[in-house]
Amino acid sequence: MGDLTFLAAGYAVFWIVSFVFIYTLVSRQRNLEKEVQVLEQLVQQESETE
């Protein structure tokens, strides 16, 4: 292995873990936004039927 291979692999770990964590945050946020939209539709339907 080249002299810089370990260095590159070491730093790749930090960035990959960081981006995976940030991606999970964004993904969970999007899912919650979708859930809010579904809840709002449910509430509207209920208020229309009342």
Binding site: M1, F6, F14, V17, L25, R28, E33, V36, L39
Partner: protein, 254 residues
Amino acid sequence: MATQTAVTQQEQTTTTGGSFTYGHALTIVSGVLMIAALYMALIWAPDAVNLTAPAERAAQRIFYFHVPAAWIGFLAFIVAAVASLLYLITRKQKWDVWALSSVELGVAFFAMVMLSGPIWAKPTWNVWWTWDPRLTISTISWLLYIGYLMLRGAVDNPDRQARFAAVYAIIAAMSVPINWIAIRWWRTIHPAVVLPGNNSGAQGGFGMSADIRTTLIFCLFAFTMFFITLMYHRIKLENLKRRVETIRQQIIYQ
């Protein structure tokens, strides 16, 4: 009607992204600091003088991110323990949110430590892994906090979940000082570079010149800001999740 207002407010909270917020400012500042830390670690910092093998000398630069990631892991677990204690005293949901967010971040940062450590170890110790006291305690500590997240997933009742998790986080935090002391108490291959001890078995240690110390301090600061930013976003997300869950329960049972 009250539920409708709550849902509408909730949607406004989640979808309002146009204005510049405190979260945006934190994200930009920590992003810039992390890029600057990368520049300092890879380019600005000098080579460690007492390391002769080229691969070992290059891999030594992993130190600038490995040590701050470990520091953030320890910090996150201590924050979780303090928040858990505050939860048990006050029973305020806020502290449970803090503890959960902090443990999740601590596990992520400790994953960086556990994965980058063997990559640094191979050119320095000539092995990827050895069951040395520091490495073993770090593994146990990491698994303990993964267990914390699994425990939360296994208990349905929210109050009981928060209570069990709080007690668990306080007990698990004992692994932090043991981990810190491990390289000073026991004969271990892991070097103590920041506050050197009297460990004759340590391999891969190096002298801290002024520039190396400056780079490390900067990286510690950048990682701390990165942690604060991620905590801010994670806490916000957890609060949102809990509010949505409350509204969902209101709709189901009304």
